[in-house]
Amino acid sequence: MEEMNQKKALGISLKAFAVLMVAVCLIYEMVTPSVKFLSLWFSYLVGAVLYAIGFLMTFV
């Protein structure tokens, strides 16, 4: 039970970091006219990978 909660906390932390990363990049693209939409695709990809790892963490 304890280990399950720790894994859950770890997964949530990773997911929170990933969401933060994607959200911040999205806002940056929206408010900066010189930056085109999806030009920060790699940052979204990194965020998505981190989110996926966080999601999988609870099943390890």
Binding site: E2, E3, A9, V24, F42, V46
Partner: protein
């Protein structure tokens, strides 16, 4: 200066790590919970934590820089000779004895095997060495970050040290290990991102291979190809002493294995950790090689600038923040381990053993927390005041400290494998071996054989001398009783062969680790 999204990501990361530490406070109900995570940790958390601890900011920046300047041969410090083989030896021959004795610290084991003065000597050496190391970790974490992020140096230092101290204070070893895993994952993902962009910039593997001399890709160098520190003898025999000392006797590392649920999981964590290390350090080495092609002028000026230059030049907004977070993570995961291990030694081996006995368990948890704050203040003071002023002197002092590592290993190894070893010869041997290693490295080796001499040979010489003194001296002292040595020495109780699941079979993982290590060495010696 960084774009604002990167700064938001870095600050957000600190908040998340603090929140995680605060959440894990609920599991602290006893000394065992605070110092050893309740001895309930699964092997995969311990494996990630071990490697996150081993990879500090000096590795993140230093490995990339040194590979950029002189090639992949330096990876041997993290591959077969200095990591995998010592981890396997530790898993097969050492960890079981420590765990079976039920100790919290290596000095505690030393007292049981030898006597109380040996415990005090070991604890004092550990605290002095590690406080200075902590200062350097804090310094190396804060300085490059202040350069990249643009924050004043003191702010960068206070933020990193403050956040690390806070989650150690709150969550103890549980907090440290769980955040280590988080940091480890962020480090890996960012390292992969970094190598994708770096390779794309140099024209892929083909472009990289054709742009650099063949020698830069070799991990096995003859003396004429390399230096006294990088030729195969120094790398494959010399560095073994450093690896054995680190992975078999260091409280900072082994405390995590004490936190495992079972012997089998502790052994598996060590061996699997060594397998994880191969790709991680290879990626950083590869980034270093790319930096050697892309930023040759920067490398020529200062190799340590290779990593910051690649991060800020090649990565897009957002990923830069994550990569800097990974750099902070590397520092924090090393810093938190130092804080918890030193606090454990101070509480268990000095405070509880000699000063304040027989108090409730939570009293010692709070003592441990108080020591975390004290150690953090000492380390930060060292980083802010002493290091910038006496940096060169510190580097010399640090190399002096490296001389005691292998004599320490010899003392502990003989304590386990040589039943006749007693305290007095061990005490004398430890001091004599350390001083001899210093004298050899400073005054004899560089004069007598300057072409071949490297500091790693001094460690070997000191260790062999220590072992000789212990073996000879113990013949003239009264051996300890079988009762005292029971369970502490090799084959003093009946060893039952453990039956384990395939996933946590350290014997199987040891074979995998050796095959991977030997294959990589052959590929980067004969094929590339």
């Amino acid at each position: 200066m960084l774009a604002w999204p990167d700064i938001v990501i870095i600050i957000g990361y600190f908040v998340i790590v603090l929140g995680l530490g605060a959440y894990l406070t609920r599991y602290i109900k006893s000394q065992e919970d605070f110092f050893l995570a309740g001895r309930k940790m699964p092997w995969w958390i311990v494996a990630c934590s071990l490697q996150a601890t081993d990879i500090g900011p000096e590795t993140y920046i230093g490995v990339t820089g040194i590979v950029a300047a002189s090639g992949l041969a330096w990876l041997n410090y993290d591959w077969l000779p200095a990591c995998a083989i010592p981890c396997i030896i530790s898993a097969w021959f050492f960890v079981r004895h420590y765990r079976r004795s039920g100790v919290y610290t290596i000095p505690e084991f030393i007292e049981r095997r030898y006597n109380a003065p040996m415990r005090v000597l070991w604890s004092v050496l550990f605290i002095v060495v590690r406080t200075l190391t902590l200062g350097v970790v804090i310094y190396t974490m804060a300085l490059p970050l202040s350069l990249i992020v643009g924050w004043p140096w003191w702010l960068s230092l206070l933020v990193a040290a403050g956040v690390t101290g806070a989650y150690c204070f709150l969550g103890g070893l549980t907090g440290v290990m769980i955040t280590d895993v988080l940091q480890f994952i962020i480090m890996i993902v960012c390292a992969v991102g970094l190598i994708i962009f770096s390779l794309r910039e140099v024209g892929g593997w083909e472009g990289l291979h054709s742009a650099l001399p063949r020698q830069m890709f070799h991990v096995v160098l003859s003396r004429t190809e390399g230096t006294a520190d990088t030729w195969w003898g120094a790398m494959f025999i010399g560095t073994l002493s450093l690896g054995l000392a680190y992975w078999c006797t260091d409280q900072n590392t082994l405390q995590r294995t004490f936190a495992c649920r079972s012997d089998a999981e502790a052994r598996t964590a060590l061996v699997v950790g060594s397998i994880i290390k191969y790709p991680m350090t290879f990626i950083w080495g590869l980034v270093g090689l790319c930096a050697a092609v892309l930023f040759a002028d920067v490398i020529a000026e200062n190799p340590d600038n290779a990593m910051p230059k690649i991060v800020t030049s090649l990565l897009p907004v957002g990923t830069v923040g994550a990569a800097i977070t990974a750099l902070y993570a590397a520092g924090m995961s090393s810093c938190d381990s130092l804080l918890t291990s030193m606090s454990t030694v101070l509480t268990r081996d000095i405070y509880q053993r000699f000063l304040v006995k027989n108090k409730p368990d939570m009293h010692y948890v709070w003592a441990g927390r108080a020591f975390i704050i004290l150690i953090l203040i000492c380390g930060t003071l060292f980083a802010t005041v002493v290091f910038p002023v006496f940096g060169a002197a510190y580097v010399a002092w640090q190399s002096v400290l490296s001389y005691i590592q292998f004599p320490l290993f010899a003392t502990l190894a003989l304590g386990i494998f040589y039943k006749k070893a007693t305290a007095l010869p061990a005490f004398v041997g430890l001091l004599t071996g350390s001083v001899s290693a210093f004298v050899l490295d400073r005054f004899v080796g560089p004069v007598v054989m300057p072409y071949w001499w490297s500091f790693v040979w001094a460690g070997w010489a000191g260790g062999v001398l220590t072992a000789a003194i212990i073996i000879c001296g113990s013949r003239f002292t009264k051996p300890y009783s079988q009762e005292k040595l029971k369970g502490l020495c090799w084959r003093t109780i009946e060893e039952k062969e453990e039956t384990t699941k395939l996933l946590i079979d350290w014997r199987l993982w040891s074979i995998v680790s050796l095959i991977v290590g030997v294959s990589l060495t052959l590929i980067f010696w004969l094929v590339l």
